[in-house]
């Protein structure tokens, strides 16, 4: 697989480490009443879809940026790559 890095251009996926579901960007509120339950689901449960998947990749052997990659888990076709920072900011995070 080739990941088209937004800053560095096309790079071999072997340079990256796969972390998993990009939903992990949205941590639950630790002060909420159901925080224990929410963190259990956050840490351990996964949607694991067959098809389009939004996931976090870390450019460990490159510029150490975190990327959000939209990839098809049936074909390995990569549809979109962006910096995780841009993705998080669009969701209302400050950084």
């Amino acid at each position: 697989m080739i990941i088209n890095h937004p800053l560095l251009g096309p790079r071999d996926a072997a340079e990256f480490v796969h972390l998993g579901d990009a939903a992990m960007i949205d941590r639950p509120d630790w002060q909420a009443k159901d925080a224990a339950e929410a963190f259990h689901d956050y840490l351990y449960l996964r949607d694991n879809p067959a098809g389009t998947y939004r996931e976090l990749w870390y450019h460990e052997q490159g510029d150490r940026s975190w990327l959000v990659v939209i990839r098809d888990t049936i074909t390995h076709d990569i549809k979109n790559v962006e910096l995780a920072r841009d993705h998080a900011r669009r969701r209302g995070r400050s950084r």
Binding site: A13, V17, L43, Y44, R46, N48, P49, A50, T73, I74
Partner: protein, 416 residues
């Protein structure tokens, strides 16, 4: 009719006209006591042990494709019981004991070959870790043997003992481990279950569950609804997809694991050999091909094929311990889907929906578990209680902090 040498002799005298199909192809009945979703190794062994141990034969096994078309036909055929934690090791030792008596039990030649499994160590700390693992194996009645370098040299003189980076100092040897003809396991269990009255229904994909007020009462299939008192899902690799139809999210990611076979060579490997400093394991099939594999690719996938970096990594591991295989050509390679769970261990449990049971999360080690998995799943379905050796394989163990994490990697499926 039972298979025997006498039967072969008799058939040879009568033109081999007496052989019958090994299992029936029945139409699904409208209702059963138990429906098993998934006609792979684990589903078929569950059906077999339900009938054999518990006398429950109003059972249907529903398979989307053909029998054994999933991981039971795509693995590297290794059996062993060299785990460490008490939540796992007694289970795998039960499995190895069942493998040992399997062929006589289900009257089918599965070519169970106890040629031994050798895990190499390359440093003093790793030796210490293997001593600990060996002691844990002994607690369950397994048969670990700690070998020093001379012991390994005697067994496998062809290894690269003086490798500059990863010299081979010895190994943990399990003589009772080995390999099994994997397809024959599916066929043997299917035949055994069918002869006891279980309906095995192929080309019958489950498209949904019939759930009424939190109770599962059957399944929707491509061939119409079928009702049952209990529904048991054993579809490792696709567990999340199937259980999502019941609205259940699992602590599982699906990953791709590749396997490889070289061209046929003369007999050279005495048993299964694993590299202790990288991830590479190899055995030699009876046809002579080297059967080997290594790490999972490391990303979620349902593609049943992997990418080249994992191929390179596996081959590097092979070259590091046995450079002699460098001239052998790769004949075939393929990928299988594995349920990578959040702690690297499996599940045999009921679910939050009454009447719906789940078996999965086998990571890359489901094949060796096939007999005990069916044995314990059948026990749970028939008695409502977990089998003693599978008591920790619960779906809610993360909520209770009772993880079974052999490698201590934490909730990161691609590292287990």
């Amino acid at each position: 009719m039972a298979y025997s040498a006498f039967r072969i002799f008799r058939e040879s005298l009568t033109g081999n006209r007496g052989w019958k199909p090994v299992w029936r192809e029945p139409e699904p009945r409208p209702d059963y006591d138990i429906i098993i979703v998934g006609g792979g190794g684990h589903g078929l062994s569950t059906a077999y042990y339900l009938a054999r141990n518990h006398g429950i034969t109003r059972v249907a096994v529903l398979e989307k494709g053909w029998l054994g078309s999933g991981n039971v036909g795509r693995n590297t055929t290794i059996i062993r019981s060299n785990y460490m934690l008490p939540g796992n090791q007694p289970f795998y030792e039960l499995s190895l004991k069942l493998w040992e008596g399997l062929e006589q039990d289900f009257n089918f030649n599965a070519m169970v070959s106890q040629r031994g499994v050798l895990n190499l160590y390359h440093s003093d700390p790793q030796r210490d870790a293997f001593v600990r693992r060996g002691n844990a194996m002994k607690l369950s009645g397994a048969d670990p043997v700690l070998l020093d370098e001379a012991g390994v040299r005697k067994l496998c003189p062809f290894l690269d003992f003086d490798n500059a980076r990863f010299p081979i100092r010895g190994g943990l040897w399990q003589p009772r481990g080995g390999t099994v003809r994997h397809d024959a396991v599916a066929w043997g269990y299917a035949r055994g279950a069918d002869r006891r009255g279980v309906d095995i229904i192929q080309n019958c994909e489950v498209t949904g569950f019939l759930i009424d007020s939190g109770v599962c009462k059957g399944v929707e299939t491509a061939r119409g609804p079928i009702r049952a008192k209990s529904v048991a899902v054993a579809v490792a690799g696709s567990s999340s997809r199937v259980m999502a139809k019941a609205g259940i999210r699992l602590p599982i990611e699906s990953h791709v694991l590749q396997a490889f076979v070289s061209e046929g060579l003369k007999p050279v490997l005495p048993g299964v050999i694993t590299f202790g400093a990288g991830h590479f394991y190899v055995s030699q099939s009876d046809k002579g091909g080297l059967v080997f594999g290594g790490d999972i690719d490391g990303y979620n996938s349902y593609a049943q094929r992997g990418n080249l970096p994992a191929v390179e990594d596996v081959c590097e591991g092979g070259m590091a311990i046995m450079p002699m295989i460098g001239r052998a050509r790769l004949l075939r390679m393929w990928g299988g889907l594995v349920d990578m769970s959040m702690d690297g261990s499996a599940f045999i449990d009921r679910t939050e929906i009454d009447g719906l049971f789940f078996n999965g999360g086998w990571c890359y080690g489901g094949f060796k578990a096939t007999p005990a998995s069916g044995f314990c799943f059948a026990h749970l379905l028939a008695t409502g209680e977990s089998h003693p050796v599978a008591r920790q394989m619960r779906l809610d163990r993360f909520r209770r902090g009772k993880l079974i994490d052999e490698k201590g990697q934490g909730a990161q499926p691609n590292l287990h």
